[in-house]
């Protein structure tokens, strides 16, 4: 069933060979859906820029990116893969840096480019190690090779370094929280929905090729999942900016996916094919699901930003009235990402949980511990994600508008007031329809999971190198069916309860009053809980890992003066590793570099010393 397209490509070691196996197909489907939806959205979203910015260039790189993504997931040759990979980096860079007049956008583009390209170097090493062992640059030949354990472990670690940066694993996620808020929203959707999944695809491909990996690899992968997931969601809770928050949620969801993959890898190492298929299958399904609901959320965020001209959640509020449809669609995305039943997030998380419980009951004691850890952290992630999206939805869409300055994070120009193709709520149809399509997909998978589970399990079987027929996937599909039945019962109950309420209330009109202010008369909309105050309890509990900083806000004396307080959460990996590291290099460079050494003589001395060194070394 693998389809191979073969052609020659006259570059060193290059072959234009494409291969479509179930693993690729899962990603290919996600790529196709997202590229179309985000593209259509962009068509409406970028209207305000018409005539002010070179939109043709933007469109070109968008299409290039779409093409290259397809190439990446289908490439069967190392050079082709790497070429496409580099092109992805470049085209994404141009898409991110669209609004380059703004320093944060430039910084984001810069960090993205550097992180991506530097990570690619690890891939060079990894692929060449693989190709040396296999004697070929073709993935399918590599997959037939057996790798010695040490080499396999090295390759695995290199793949984590190389693909992990793109995927956004926790300590190496630096580019992600910068790039997502900086780019136009449909690009953020594409980045989060698909670009980071390419990192996951890479790891999946490597796992698929490796077949047998040392046992510790599974533990490492699972731990990475746990750390990324929890840190991602904790950082998300601490954010004030909508798209940055969503960006951190991408890290969390990558963590969930990795958890699944790690469980699968454990299953492979311990010869538990059912666990392997469950873990990989759940991971792959979550890839698909996350790309659907996260892009939905980003697109929704884009509409919000276009409406409010700010990304600061604490300046928003009550948008469900201004953007009712967007509000509903965003809620669907939020419910999905929290993994609540009825929506697709629950399905994939359920499969991963199920796999982890299988591991819990079937693996030796180390495996049991790590699986327990996985289950716990998945539960914690779920709870924190719920809290986080309550915060997002509550502060952005519910309540009353909060007064605040409005400046657009991406420098979005004012939308023309009268515009064609604008529906009731002022959002272009080009923007609403893709979101609706994505939301529909979320609900569809949530209610009829068998539409996709077949495919993802096929992909998982392909990764685990087992015949799917020998695996009793019904063991997990039957419970899923039961879940769906309960879900339908739940929906029926909702209908019944609404009807009951209708009957009880009769036809009498419902009085509308102000919210009860507990007796206080001077309530203003600024009294509302903000996103930061909502998350404060959790963030303060975790303030050591989150680098939570608070300025001002101390009230002193009987008649305190006017004061202001702001709090922010800082990325520990960036603040404690990357920035000091780069500063150190900069310092060294400045000390050694030009301006310090003033004399040509010193340079001559280098030559003399080198000559003497060679003489002494080589002439013994």
């Amino acid at each position: 069933m693998d389809k191979i397209l073969f052609g020659s490509w006259p570059v060193p070691f290059g072959e234009f060979s494409l291969k479509l196996d179930p693993l690729s197909l899962v990603f290919l489907i996600a790529v196709t859906i997202l590229a179309v939806c985000a593209g259509a959205y962009g068509f409406g979203y970028m209207r305000p820029y018409q005539g002010k910015k070179p939109l043709g260039v933007h469109a070109f790189f968008y299409l290039l990116l779409a093409l290259v993504l397809v190439l990446i997931v289908t490439a069967n040759n190392v050079i082709l893969f790497l070429s496409a990979w580099e092109l992805m980096t470049i085209s994404t860079f141009f898409l991110i840096i669209f609004n380059d007049e703004q320093p944060p956008v430039r910084k984001a583009g810069f960090i993205y480019l550097i992180a991506s390209h530097c990570a690619t170097f690890f891939l060079f090493l990894m692929f060449f190690l693989m190709s040396r062992a296999a004697g070929s640059m073709a993935f399918d030949v590599m997959a037939r090779t057996t790798f010695p354990p040490l080499l396999a472990g090295t390759i695995f670690l290199l793949s984590l370094a190389g693909f992990g940066v793109k995927a956004g694993f926790f300590p190496v996620h630096v580019w992600l929280p910068h790039a997502h808020p900086a780019s136009p929203s449909h690009i953020s959707a594409l980045l989060s929905g698909i670009a980071i999944k390419m990192g996951v695809y890479g790891i999946c491909r490597v796992l698929c090729i490796m077949k047998v990996l040392p046992v510790w690899c599974g533990y490492v992968l699972l731990m990475i999942g746990v750390v990324s997931g929890i840190m991602g969601v904790l950082y998300a809770l601490g954010q004030h900016e909508l798209k940055k928050l969503l960006a951190y949620h991408s890290i969390e969801n990558i963590g969930i996916i990795t958890l699944g993959l790690g469980a699968g890898l454990l299953g492979m190492s311990y010869q538990a094919p059912f666990l392997a298929v469950l873990g990989f299958g759940g991971g792959l399904l979550h890839v698909l699901n996350h790309s659907l609901f996260k892009s939905l959320l980003f697109l929704g965020a884009g509409s919000v930003i276009q409406e409010t001209h700010t990304g600061e959640m604490d300046h928003m509020g009550g948008l469900a009235k201004a953007l009712p449809l967007t509000g509903v669609l965003f809620l669907v995305g939020a419910l999905s990402i929290c993994g609540l039943p009825l929506f697709n997030g629950f399905i994939s998380e359920f499969i991963i949980y199920f796999g982890l419980f299988q591991g819990l009951l079937g693996l030796p004691v180390h495996g049991v511990i790590i699986c327990a850890l996985g289950i716990l952290s998945l539960g914690l992630m779920g709870a924190l994600a719920s809290a986080c999206f309550c915060k997002v939805y509550g502060t952005v869409f519910l309540g009353k508008p909060r007064a605040g300055s409005s400046h657009s994070p991406e420098g979005m120009p004012e939308r023309p007031t009268a515009q064609e193709g604008v529906c009731r709520e002022g959002t272009s149809k080009w923007m609403l329809v893709p979101m609706a399509a994505l939301a529909a997909a979320c609900v569809l998978i949530g209610l009829v999971p068998r539409t996709v589970t077949g495919l993802t399990f096929l992909g998982a079987a392909c990764m685990a190198h087992v015949d799917l027929a020998t695996i009793q996937t019904e063991q997990v599909l039957v419970p899923l069916t039961m879940v769906i039945r309960v879900a339908f019962l739940f929906l029926a109950l909702i209908c019944v309860l609404i009807t009951v309420r209708r009957l009880l209330l009769g036809r009498a009109s419902v009085p509308i009053r102000e919210t009860w202010g507990c007796g206080f008369a001077g309530v203003s909309s600024r009294f509302q809980y903000t996103s930061s105050s909502f998350a404060r309890l959790i963030v303060e509990l975790m303030k050591t890992v989150l680098l939570f900083r608070r300025h001002g806000g101390q009230v002193t004396g009987a008649f305190p003066e006017k004061t202001r307080m702001d709090s922010s959460v800082h990325d520990a990996s960036e603040e404690m590793a990357y920035r000091p590291g780069l500063d150190f290099l900069n310092d060294v460079s400045k000390k050694l570099g030009h301006g310090r050494i003033r004399h040509t003589q010193v340079y001559l001395m280098y030559i003399l010393l080198f000559l003497i060194f060679l003489l002494v070394w080589k002439m013994k």
Binding site: R598, H599, T600, Q601, V602, L604, M605, I607, L608, L611, I612, L615, V616, M619
Partner: protein
Amino acid sequence: MTLWIDVSCILVVFLALSVLATNRIVGMIKIFAVQSFILSFVPLFLHADAVSGRDITLSLVTMVLKAILVPAILFWQIRHISMRSEIKPLIGLGTSILFGAVLIAVAFWVSLSLRLPGKLLSSLVLPCSLATMLLGFMTMVTRTRAITQVLGYMVIENGIFLFALSLFDAMPVLIEMGILLDIFVAVLIMAIVLNHINEEFERTGGSAGRSKTGETV
């Protein structure tokens, strides 16, 4: 005749060391002239049995070029009083001499395993020419003024010349002359540049006051 070659070799190295250990530019030029003068006699000792016209020509050319012309140009170059003394060298003279001794040791050590082939000229030719070269190099490293660096370079070239003599028979003279000529042209150009350099700035390495953006288009 090997004895004479040996003596010349040792003298050349000694003079190279003296150049390294001299502070005054005039002194350095003078020592260099003496070194070149001694060197110009070596071709005459090459063929003990019969001194050919070719040997004499080479000897004369060398003497005129190196022992007279080049020092003269250099003297002409430093005719201004302000240029006569070396500004503080980068490495002190004492240290320079110590380093020089180490370099000589390295040169001899390297030459241990190497024997000049055929009709042996002198076992000292290789180590001495290497040592001279390295000492000249060291001179370039320690001195901060353009003109002293040129002098160092000339010492290097003398070292090379000393060794080239051992190849006198093996190599076509055409190439050899071309080589000498090239070096000469190089020095000439250097001098011309020097001329500009002296107008533009006093010390070759003096980039201290250069503006950050003072780059040209």
